[in-house]
Every structure is written in C-alpha cells, then in structure tokens.
C-alpha cells in the first residue's frame, strides 16, 4: 500500500499542488504509522493456538507459492519442457498475488493450515496419531471390502496431506472443485494472449486429471456419508482423529468444512458449541468434546436446553458465509 501511494504522478505540478500532495501523503503516512503498534502487538501477543500465528501465516504463504509453482510447471509441460526449472520471479509474484487476492482460496488454505496445527497439538496432547485414528483403523478392518478400500485410500491421502503440510505445500488436485476452477480461471486470465495456448493446454490437462472424489476431503466425506447414522461416532475427537472429526462436524451441522475447522479456534467457542449441538450430540458428549479441545472452558448454564434445530438455525443465521 505504502509503496504504491509513494509513487507521485509524473506530470509537473505547481508549487501549491506539490505542497498539497505532500500534505496528503504525510497524513496517510502518519495514519499507517499509528497502526503499526497495535498490529504488531496483536501479532506478537498471539499464542500458538491463534488464528494468525507465525506458523499458520507461513503455511498459507507456502501453499500459495506451491500452487503457483504447480500452475507454472503445468504450462511448461505443455511446451514440452519436462525438466524442473526455476520460474522467473516476476511470473511467480504476479500469479501468487492473484491467488492471494482470492478470498475463498485464502480461507481454505488458512483452514488447512489451522487443521494441521490442531492435528499436531492433538498428537502432543492426546497422543492421537495424525494419520491413523481408531475410527479409520476400524473402517479399514471392516468386513465390507468397499468400506475397507475407501478407508485405505483415505489413509494414503491423509498421509500425503501431513507430508505436504510439513513442507507447507498443497497439491492442486486436492483443492475442492469450486476453488480449483477459480484458480484455473485466474491462471488463464493472467496468461494473456501471448501465453494463452500453454495456459489452455495446462488447464485442460488439470481438469481432466482432477476428480473431487479422490481428494482427501472427498474421501473423508464419502466415508462419513457411508456410515449413515453411525456417523455420530465420528463426532468424537479422540476416536475419529482431527480430519474425520472436522468433516463429520461440518456435515452433521450443515456448515462449510472450512468454517467448521475455524470453529475449533478459541475465539470461536460459541460456534463450536452450537455446531456440536446442531450435530445432535447430547450434553454429555458436547462436554466431552470440549474437554478434549478446550479443557479449561465450561459450557454456559442452560445450554443443555437448546434444541439441535435451534442451534442449527442460529448457526445458519450467523455464518459469515450465510449470504453465499
């Protein structure tokens, strides 16, 4: 912001004009300087569990860069260049900028980074394996070979996810369909006329390769959907593990998964409590989940009187995505 504002218009100005311009610049500079302290304090104060911890910001930035690199790689492959090279920094910066401007994409990446942080915390606190949870283990041992194979594929996808998150990466083909589409549109738009052929080629290759059913989130939602009424079992954090718990919570409470992920944050206790209630969990089960996630928080008195329907209605009315 400050950089672009500092670029004065090229045409010559009268002395008065220069003075006025400088005055405006000075004022906006002052305003920016005033904000430095509170923002800095906010960033520094935030504990490890916060929404904007260094690890999470770095993770989001890493995933944006990784997606950018994959898009550029795909375009090169269309030209027949299979050797891995470093892309010109300008190309990377422009495309990465465009991706960061996509609020929905950013929200999703943020949720993934947050999910990963939660996964590691739970591993430390409850010795919950990031990949193989008791529920997934039970599903893999299922007598129904379809369920077992689905669980196996989910296991592989979850292992890949953990590996990628360690490296702050994310495969393009792991994005939900809507987001992948918006990313591809951004790529096509930025490629412009001169690189349109490569971009179009890369786009059709990616579209063809993609299948939402094979993404980690797709597999998880399919596994939960297949459990039917047994899906309630996935609403136990220690039994289902982070990934399946979050998917089950989103499906049972009728929320977007990213939103459900963020509800675990300690600033979103009301949303978490309502989500669990809307999923149909009894009071004791809600308390149990709170004990696992936020050991130091007690539910408000009278919460047990709220009906699941009412909780769902409150959520639907309040969601930041309610208008979408």
């Amino acid at each position: 912001m400050m950089e672009s504002a500092a670029q004065f218009p090229a045409q010559s100005l009268s002395a008065d004009g220069v003075e006025a311009l400088l005055r405006v610049e000075l004022a906006s500079g002052d305003a920016a300087a005033l904000n430095v302290a509170p923002i800095l304090r906010h960033l520094i104060d935030n504990g490890a569990n916060a929404m904007f911890s260094d690890a999470i910001i770095a993770g989001v930035r890493g995933m944006v860069c990784d997606l950018t690199r994959q898009l550029l790689d795909a375009q090169l492959r269309v030209k027949g260049e299979t050797e891995r090279i470093d892309h010109p920094t300008d190309n990377v910066a422009v495309l990465a900028d465009a991706l960061s401007a996509n609020a929905a994409l950013l929200g999703h990446l943020h949720a993934l980074a947050f999910e990963w942080q939660l996964t590691r915390q739970m591993q430390a606190r409850m010795a919950l394996d990031p990949v193989l949870s008791p529920l997934l283990q039970a599903q893999m041992a299922s007598a129904d070979s379809q369920t077992a194979s689905l669980a196996m594929r989910l296991l592989a996808a979850q292992a890949r996810f953990c590996q990628e998150q360690q490296r702050m990466q994310l495969s393009l083909t792991e994005l939900p369909g809507d987001l992948l589409h918006s990313v591809l549109v951004a790529m096509r738009t930025l490629a412009g006329v001169e690189a349109d052929a490569e971009a179009a080629g890369a786009e059709s290759v990616i579209r063809l390769e993609y299948h939402e059913a094979r993404t980690r989130l797709g597999l998880a939602s399919r596994l939960i959907a297949g459990m039917g009424g047994g899906g309630l079992a996935a609403l136990s954090f220690s039994h289902a593990g982070t990934a399946l718990f979050l998917t089950a919570l989103a499906m049972a409470s009728g929320q977007d998964r990213d939103l459900a992920v963020m509800s675990i944050n300690e600033t979103q206790l009301a949303r978490l409590a309502l989500s669990l209630r809307a999923s149909g969990l009894k009071q004791s089960a809600v308390e149990e989940q709170f004990l696992a996630l936020h050991p130091d928080i007690a539910l408000p008195e009278g919460f047990e009187l709220m009906s699941p329907d009412h909780a769902a209605a409150l959520l639907a009315a309040a969601g930041p995505l309610a208008g979408d």
């Binding site: 194979s149 369909g177 579209r207 939402e212 939960i224 959907a225 297949g226 039917g228 329907d309």
Partner: protein, 470 residues
C-alpha cells in the same frame, strides 16, 4: 481405483441441467422432491453440483442432503461432464441413507404461518380490544369497496362488513373463533380468510388486534367484454359442478388440518402431561382427521373425472417404469406391514399411450389397496404383459380375494364391501376405473374367495414404438 464401489444408480442430465434419464433411486428422489422426469433437477444440492460440474468441466463429488416427503436423505454422489459429446453430466449415486425427519415444532410452524399471512395480506386493519376497526388499508382492487365501507364506519366491529361462512352467531365472537375463519366480501369473487394477531400485553387480555385478509386465489384476470358472455355462463355452469374441488376442499382443508395439528399436540403431550387414555383419544381424532382429508382429496378427484369435459393428456410412457415408481413410493409402507412388493425387473419395458400421472395414480391406488388388505408376510406382484393392441399391468395379491358379487360391486362409487374404519373412502377404484376409461383403457378384476385378487389395467399399446418406421 481398484475396488470401486458399484454405483447404486446413474442418471444423465442435459445442457440445461434437466434430468433426462435416471435409474430407480435417483428417479424416485427426483419425483419425491417435487420434480418431473424429464425435468429440471429438483434436489437443490444436486442441481448445484451438476451445474458446477458442467460449467467448470470438472469431476465433482459431494455429499448432498435432501428432504423427500417426511424423510431426510443423505446421499454421496459423483458428477462428471458427459463423455458422449452431449452437453450435461453423468450422475452416479454411490451410497444413500435415509432418516425420518423429526416432527415439526408446532409453535414454530404457527409463528411462520402467521408471518406468511401477514406478508400476503391483501387487506390489513387495526382493531381495538373489542374488535372495532381503527384503521384499514388495502391494495387489492376487489377489496376497495370493502375498505371504503369500513372507513365510513370506523369504530364498528369488523365482522359487520363481511359475511363469515357458516356463521349465524351474534357478534362479537371470541377472537380465537374468528382467527382462520373463511369469509365472503361484497365486490370480490374470491374466498377470503381472516387472521387475527393479538397485540399481547403479558398477563392480561389483548388490548387490540391486527386483522389480515388473505386469499388462496389470485385476482381473476379482467376479461374483454364483447366475447365473454357465453364463456362466462359456461364458466359458471362448470364452476357449479366443481363445487367441491373449488370451494369446499380449500375451505375444509384448513380447519381439518388444524384439528389434526391440535390433536397431535395433545397426543404428543406437548402442552403438558396427560393421562394415556386421553392421548389415545387424541390419536383417534388425528387419524379421523387424516381420513377426512383423504376423503376430500378423493371427492375433488371424483368431481374432476365425472366432469363431461374431462380429458387426459396421453403420452408415450413405459408401464414397467411407472410400476417400478409406484412400488418405490409405497415400498416403505409395504415393508412396515411385512409385505413384499415385486415390481417388474429393471430392463423390462412395455410402452403404452397414456398419461403418466394418471397411470401412476391408478397404480398407487391398486398397490395401496393390495398392501392394505393383504395379510402380513405375503407378496404383491406387479406384472406387465403385451397383448396385441393392448398393454397391460396386473397387480396381484394374496389377500382374502373377492366373491363374484363383490367383484361386480367393487368399482361402484362409495362401495366399501362392508369394511369401515380403515381409512378407505370407497372412491379409489371408482376413480381409477374412470381414469382408465378416459385414457381408452379398462380396469377390471379377477378373483375368487381365498385366492387373492388380480387387478388388471388395460391400456392402448404404443404401436409406433414397436414399428418405428411406420
């Protein structure tokens, strides 16, 4: 994808997201969600997924939930853009779960209804505690006369200005009795309903009311004068014959629905603890109310099929498909009674010329009867047969069967064969036969006591389909 789960059902959509063909499960879902086949996809979540997959050219996969009747359906679907050069998508259903929806919260429903009535009011008035009018507004042309009359008589009871149906009471009545009342208004052809909203003061009687008039009918289109004398008269004559469907049914549905709702409230003890006997009485009241509602529907149908100008809209339909749909719709009820319904196999097909909706109505009636009168753990078969120019659907059961004299009477109006108290009206078979005949077909029965019954629906076969070149 080595061990891919087999698809439970597949369907195809076209370039405008209409379902053009669908296997059983998806077709049933489409119909039960209020859609048609072919027709625009009726499940909102599915429509969204299909639209995105088509526009984005991406293979999408989602868990969707839908409300089909009184059940909530959760399904996992995969949607792929079609590979056969056509626009649209292929939809694959991988698994599905149903759960019955919890009963609606009656208080909440009433709040919603009140909101709707206020929103749709074509006349609203402010009343004081004794139901005298303080102010009135209307936007409906056919209520202006009423509004003028009220305005010139402000301060009088509102009931003086309208004609309340079936009410010889001296006014004023208690507002609860007037809330929901049907009424007639001078200068308007339409039937009106009053809603009263008390302005509550906690702990004391309301200090006034808001009155809203709503109508289920839109304002009739104004018609050009010169041509219309004859058609007006014809219209009146027809209207007189359609008295039940047009006037009586809408007027009765509301109070009966209210009786059922209140009886259900009592039965489920929503308003407080109650002795079990009384809860059972309430259940009886609710059941009787349901029966009455069904009877009204039958009577309205009866009127339609007995009208001289009644015609069906014949189309080329597949009887096997209709039979499978009927069996899908009543399958749950049959299972509850321990009855197995055996519809034509998938892949079987028999083309006929008839109206889809009417044939489905007939089959639902026949199958419903078969389920109702068959013993537990028995079977009901639906078979199709081509016989020359005729296409035939047979519904056979293992029930008690019918003697010859019963067979002769069973298609008569209000014939109950001595049965009562089981929810039947004695009109179903009469209506079904009228429908069959209106489509150039016939409905008949073969049976002997103790041998079960075979109801046979004969329809004109679709000859074009067999010899496409002809």
């Amino acid at each position: 994808m080595s061990a891919e789960q087999p698809a439970l059902a597949r369907a195809l959509s076209d370039g405008e997201d209409r379902l053009v063909s669908a296997d059983d499960a998806l077709a049933t879902l489409q119909l039960r969600c209020g859609g048609e086949l072919p027709g625009t996809i009726a499940v909102p979540a599915l429509l969204e997924a299909v639209r995105k997959a088509r526009r984005y050219e991406l293979k999408l996969a989602r868990a969707i939930t839908a409300q089909a009747g009184d059940e909530s359906v959760t399904a996992w679907i995969e949607v792929e853009p079609r590979q056969d050069g056509e626009q649209g998508c292929e939809i694959v259903l991988r698994n599905w779960q149903t759960a019955s929806l919890p009963p609606e919260d009656i208080d909440a429903t009433q709040v919603l209804r009140a909101g709707i009535n206020r929103h749709l009011a074509e006349l609203s008035a402010v009343l004081d505690a004794r139901q005298n009018v303080l102010a009135v507004t209307t936007e409906a042309p056919d209520l202006r006369e009423l509004a003028r009359a009220i305005e010139s008589g402000l301060g009088q009871e509102w009931t003086q200005f309208v004609e309340i149906d079936g009410n010889a009471h001296r006014q004023p009545m208690h507002w609860r009795l007037l809330d929901g009342a049907s009424l007639r208004v001078v200068g308007s052809q339409r039937a009106w309903r009053a809603s009263l909203f008390p302005r509550a003061v906690p702990g004391s009687p309301p200090d006034g009311f808001d009155l809203c008039l709503t109508s289920d009918e839109p304002l009739p289109e104004p018609v050009a004068e010169p041509f219309n004398k004859a058609s007006y008269e014809l219209g009146d004559a027809q209207a007189n014959r359609r008295v039940i469907g047009r006037d009586v049914a809408p007027a009765l549905r509301l109070p009966i629905a209210r009786i059922i709702a209140n009886a259900e409230t009592i039965r489920t003890r929503l308003a407080g603890p109650l002795a079990a006997e009384y809860a059972d009485y309430a259940a009886d009241i609710a059941a009787a109310g349901q029966h009455l509602l069904a009877l009204i529907d039958d009577l309205a149908d009866l009127e339609v099929v007995e009208a001289e100008e009644f015609k069906t809209a014949p189309d080329h339909i597949d009887l096997a498909d209709v039979a499978r749909r009927a069996s899908g719709i009543l399958g749950v009820r049959a299972r509850e009674q321990g009855i197995v319904v055996d519809p034509p196999r998938a892949g079987e097909s028999l083309l006929a010329v008839a109206e889809f909706r009417r044939v489905l109505q007939i089959l639902l009636n026949l199958l419903g009867n078969a389920i109702r009168y068959s013993p537990a753990n028995s079977q009901v078969w639906i078979r199709i047969e081509a016989e020359g120019e005729r296409a035939r659907v047979i519904v056979a059961d293992q029930g008690p069967g019918l003697a010859a004299d019963q067979q002769a009477r069973i298609f008569e109006k209000f014939e109950r064969l001595g049965r009562s108290g089981d929810g039947g009206s004695g009109l179903g078979l009469y209506i079904s036969r009228r429908l069959a005949r209106a489509m150039g077909g016939e409905l008949s029965v073969e049976s002997a006591p103790g041998q079960g019954a075979r109801f046979i629906l004969d329809l004109p076969a679709d000859r074009k389909a067999r010899t496409p070149t002809a």
